[in-house]
Each structure stands twice: as C-alpha cells, then as structure tokens.
C-alpha cells in the first residue's frame, strides 16, 4: 500500500516536516502527499527534489496531490 501524508489544513513549515519524516523512513517507492495551498505544494516539491525524489503534481478541486517516487 502506498504511504500517504495528509498535510491539508497545515501551514508551512508543517507539510515539509511531515513529508521529510515520511521519506526519510523510506529509501525508495512511492509517497503521496496531500496539501491545500500553493506554498506547501512548492515547498514539498523543493524538499523532495532536494532529497532525490521525483514529484508529480495533480490538482484536485482545492487540493494538490503530490506523488513522490524514487
């Protein structure tokens, strides 16, 4: 089962911290991250890229689903 981080309703730096915790535990695979604001989307993308993960972003109404893979 894919791991999911639900960071909706959280402001920076919280979404980044939760994502960091999740991907540090995992060397590869897929992690889904849900956020609901642009800053969180951008910041989680920067973190994931910096740690060597690919990021695929899709919008879902007011939320963004970020699929992190490595």
């Amino acid at each position: 089962l894919d791991k999911t981080v639900d960071a909706r309703g959280l402001l920076c730096p919280e979404p980044v911290l939760l994502t960091k915790k999740a991907i540090e535990k995992q060397l590869s695979g897929t992690v889904n991250v849900l956020v609901d604001n642009n800053a969180a989307k951008e910041n989680v993308t920067r973190l994931a890229n910096n740690m060597g993960w690919n990021v695929n972003v899709t919008s879902q109404e007011n939320d963004y689903l970020l699929i992190l893979s490595k």
Partner: protein, 327 residues
Amino acid sequence: MGPEVLSQILGELPKKIDKNLLVGTENSDDAAVYRLSPDLAIIVTVDFFTPVVDDPYLFGQIAAANALSDVYAMGGRPLIALNVACFPNCLSVEVISEILRGGAEKVLEAGALTGGGHTVQDDEPKYGLAVVGLVHPDDILTNAAAKPGDILVLTKPLGTGIINTAFKGGLAGEMAYQAAVEQMATLNRDAAGCVKEVEVKACTDITGFGFLGHAAEMAKASKVSLLIDSQAVPLLPEVLDFASMGLIPAGAYDNRRFLNDQVVFREDVGQEIRDVLYDPQTSGGLLIAVDQTKVEEILKKMHQNDVRETAVVGKVIPSEKYLIKVL
C-alpha cells in the same frame, strides 16, 4: 496582506489632494511625508506584527527597529514613537513588560521619545510602533530618484523569513538563528547616516515584499530597470540550504506571483537564490541607488560605521520591458 490585494484596495480609496503631501501612496514609498514649512517636513509611519522570535525582549527590539526603519528609509530622524500593541489576557505581565522594554530601548537608541501608545486585547500578540520623524524637504529619500548608471547597494544580508521558517521547524541551528535575530534588531540608523553624508536621493528599505518586491517598486517609481547580480547579494548563513529544503514562507510565493513577468532571471540563476530574493524580510536593510562616482565613498563610510555586510548588488539601466533582470 500580499502586495497584489493591497495595491488594488488602496487604489480605490477616496483621496484629498494637498501639495504639501510630498510623499503619499502613489509610489509605494515607506512612509507619508508632509511639508509643514519650506524647511521642515514630518514623516509618519506605522508598523506592527506578530512575534517573529520566542524571546519577548528581542521581539520588542525587532518590532521597534522595523517600525523605525521607515523613517530612516525616507531620510529622516525619528522624533517620537507610540506603542501599538495587541495582547491576549493570558499573557503574563512579565512577558508584556519585556516586549515593551525591548521596544523602548530601541526607540531610545534611535534618539527618539516614547509618547504612550494603545493596547487592544487579541488572541494573538502583536507589537510595533507608530513613528513620527523629521526631515528637511530637500533631504527626502524616495523610491522615485534612481537614474540609469546608478549603482545599487544593499546594507543587510537577506533571508530572515526563510531562517524564521527553518527555526519554527526546528531545523535552523543556533548560528543562523542568532545572525538573523541580530540583524533584525539592528537599526538602519548608521546606514542611513552614511547615505545622508554621501547625498544619495534614492533609497528604500527591504521588508515584507522581499528584495525583488521593494527593488521593483523603486524601478517602477523611478521609471528605470534594474540589473541584479545574484552572486553578489549578501545572505544570512545557511539560507540557500534551507531554501533548497522548502523552508520558504508563503509570503515569498505571494511576492513572486505579484511580480510575475516584471522580473526575469537569466537561465543559470539557481532556484534557491531566486526564492531568497522573494523572501519577505523583517527589519531588512536599505537598498540605495548611488551615483557611480560615489560608490567607493559610501562603501568606505558603511564599513567605518560598522554596517559590515553592505555590498554592491547591481545597477540601474534605462527602462526595459522588465523592471528587474537577475543575472
């Protein structure tokens, strides 16, 4: 509030025309300036915000330095300040008095008086100052006086918003945090003193709209464009590392969206430094456009007066399609 919404709202407000209002809202300057007589004008400004640090005394100092900065950025000297504060009922008397002590000491350091203030009960603490300063009308510094050929000088390093975000997340070390705190609490008084001695006319301070936001205001008001050397911009310790980890305040993205296509980047300018250039600053430094024959002199004076991190960051060119190009 982001610059986008703010400028729209301000544009719709009713206005009285008065030739003695030398600086109003039209050029996004740092404070209002009103001429009282041919050789005297008053500068009026207000600024307050929620705590940027946990220590109440330091918060008071930073909020006061930030509010006083608008007077320096207009070329004036602070005369009298009023405390503007919101405190929750649960906040202890000790904490409140430490905030006010930090503010009062900064006002004193600026050579100004505290003349009282106003406090409102609120769930989230907020503190700052309303400040009145004085300036000779001929000595007013403004956003609108940069001319092609001028050299751009910045007096404090960038990155306070990013370091605060990293600190909130428990990821900023003591060294980066202390460097940010120290510079946020530093008055722009000495930097402004050097500016006056060298007869500079174009000046602004770098605060919430970030380096690029305030630089763009200067470019727009002066009807010029700016070239910025991203390699030359002074930075607080570890800021680029924090930016690459996504520890960037939401305000930086608001600033970027507002400037949109008015700022262009050369392809090889890294993502991290782009983010830092949009980072909202608390109590940031002065950005000055100085005649190229006076650059050496102003840098020398800044270093003599211990404004140590002052650096040349770019130059002014005739108006282009963009307001700013970052190299």
